[in-house]
């Protein structure tokens, strides 16, 4: 059902265009090719009010692990609204300001050509908080780490925060995104704009409660010689989509996108990437691993588009899914659109089960079945984890993976 907007007035007149576009289209159905496997019109059965104020407590179990508690630059959004009491104000190296006051930054957001994209339109139309973060080239030894936490939430309310991170020439930054809302729908937009030679390590960890809907959209633009390393982990939400559009706009830019999704019960987890090689001599590498249990469904859609002038492009994509139950489903849709003639591009996809030979080898050594299964599931994921360059960012993800895997392995061992 469509969100109610009776209680909602746009803050700026330009937002109305986006909101109207969204309302005219509604949630996409499977007839929309981009949403073929993730038909929101069917999956989102609740109606939502657009959230207007801070809401929802930070669940106790999440509070001690909130990365914002220990890092210098942190923003905490509750119900999509920036909680300024809990957030950090920034400094001259990492400056926080209101996105709406900066026309250039706003254009970075609006200029993304996402025609008729439901989340893009809805969130631009309904955004509660819009923050701009400017990272300058710092002289400090330690690369600044920005924490973005999206927590709280109220049932039947939808959260639409926007964060634009503008990274200056040759600046370096680490970004840790933590999505752990307890209620409602969360549809944040994160924009990362890397100037020439900028370096960014970005981790997204989505571990929201199972009865939430998580529809995140990330938009990344890379100028020449910039280096972007993204890792995305999703295990929360009854419906989850982590969608990324990445533009390689300057030569010799490189990016690495890795993702892990872990689904159980009736979860629907979608990873969608749109990678645009717009200029020559850029490289992209994508590695995706999914594990599905119970009746969970996993979706990976990955498009690599190589423009006519983007010669010497190197674009790789590999996705693998491991099914722990016969009632799961994994859908994969790789799309290569190549208009240049001198490129190296490849994609591959596999779907499999736990190998009985491997399992027997482990248990024949006395290792209990549950532990043996957990070892094999973790082994399946480990390649992906080695792509994370910043070890301090991977700790939290590893904790969630081990927790998930152990639970799955124990449950399945009890059911045998």
């Amino acid at each position: 059902m469509l969100p109610n907007i009776h209680n909602y007035d746009v803050k700026n007149i330009w937002q109305k265009t986006y909101l109207d576009s969204f309302l005219a289209q509604g949630w996409p159905s499977s007839k929309n090719e981009d949403w073929k496997f993730t038909s929101l019109s069917q999956l989102l059965t609740d109606s939502f009010d657009i959230a207007l104020e801070l809401g929802g407590d930070i669940a106790e179990k999440q509070a001690p692990k909130l990365p914002g508690n220990k890092h210098k630059y942190s923003l905490i959004f509750r119900n999509g609204v920036l909680d300024s009491e809990l957030s950090h104000a920034g400094d001259e190296n990492v400056r926080f300001s209101n996105l709406l006051d900066d026309d250039h930054a706003l254009s970075l957001l609006k200029n993304n050509l996402l025609e008729n994209h439901p989340i893009f339109n809805l969130t631009l139309g309904a955004m509660q908080s819009a923050v701009l973060i400017d990272v300058s080239e710092t002289q400090v030894e330690q690369t600044p780490l920005i924490d973005l936490s999206f927590v709280g939430g109220i049932r039947k309310q939808s959260a639409h925060p926007v964060v634009v991170i503008r990274v200056a020439e040759k600046a370096q930054v680490k970004i840790s995104e933590f999505h752990a809302s307890a209620n409602g729908l969360s549809a944040p937009i994160i924009v990362v704009d890397l100037a020439k030679g900028a370096v960014c390590d970005h981790i997204r960890c989505q571990v929201a409660d199972l009865d939430t809907s998580q529809l995140g959209l990330s938009l990344v633009n890379q100028d020449a010689e910039s280096d972007y390393n993204n890792f995305s982990f999703s295990s929360g939400g009854d419906v989850s989509r982590a969608e990324m559009h990445l533009n390689l706009n300057g030569e010799n830019a490189q990016c690495k996108l890795s993702a892990i999704y872990l689904g159980r019960e009736d979860q629907h987890l979608d990873i969608t990437t749109r990678l645009y090689h717009n200029v020559a001599n850029c490289t992209s590498d994508q590695i995706i691993r999914g594990v599905l249990d119970d009746r969970a469904r996993g979706v990976f859609q990955g498009k690599i588009r190589v423009a006519q002038d983007a010669q010497k492009t190197d674009g790789q994509q590999m996705t693998r899914a491991l099914l722990l139950s016969r009632e799961t489903e994994a859908d994969t849709k790789p799309e290569l659109e190549i208009f240049a003639d001198d490129v190296v591009c490849s994609h591959g996809a596999t779907v499999g089960e736990i190998d009985e030979n491997q399992l027997f080898y482990l248990v024949s050594r006395g290792i209990p079945t549950a532990q043996a299964r957990a070892m094999l599931i973790e082994a399946f994921l480990i390649d992906t984890l080695t792509h994370i360059r910043a070890p301090e960012l991977s700790e939290q993800v590893q904790f969630h993976i081990q927790d998930w895997v152990l639970k799955s392995a124990l449950l399945s061992a009890n059911n045998v």
Partner: protein
Amino acid sequence: MDKMSILEIKELTATVDGKEILHGINLSVGAGEVHAIMGPNGSGKSTLSYVLSGRAGYEITGGDILLNGTSLIESDADERARAGLFLAFQYPVELPGVSGMSFLRAAVNARLREQGEEEVDQLGFVKIVRAEAKKLGISDDMLKRAVNVGFSGGEKKRYEILQMALLKPVMAILDETDSGLDVDALKIVSEGVNLLRHPERSMLVITHYQRLLSHIVPDRVHILSGGLIVKSGDKSLALEVEENGYAGIDNVA
């Protein structure tokens, strides 16, 4: 005087995919003894090793298997292993992504827990593994890799023996450990096995050829044919097979 049986197989029948492969095996292995099971291809040798170790899909339809007097047939493979049974695989399985050290430690600790002993910590364990590995000519580099990944045929077999050395089983089954080994590798592996011969450790050496048995000299030799043990004898029986082939042995089809 008969020593107490460590492994006692009584009238064992077993099926694979509903087809009976073992038709009533009787075998008794005393403490510290090494028995060889020889037989032509398709005689049921590998089936016997999987049935003993408790592999899913190998169904016991009759008879019993006793380890130290306790029946194993209701136990799962991991429980049998923790009770002291060990299978050295004919084709050791590669486990990409599973670190060798954490695999070995998980196995050893599972056995120690079962025995009510304290688990070994990482540091202490590395020392133990290195010492055992050295005896088998296993390099540090091999220990650092994922289990069996990138190992040669000979390295895989040595790694099996390393696991046996660490797990200290009371009953070890070596399933065609000689297959795929050249003369030098066979010698290293056999020496490793001989080092592990112990009055409290029995072994069942399953092989097609006599050559392994000139390195690992058995106390008894049994000929398995058509899912039954058709003849038993001392080590000279293996030489007889070498001389005359299986066709020359009475009762072998």
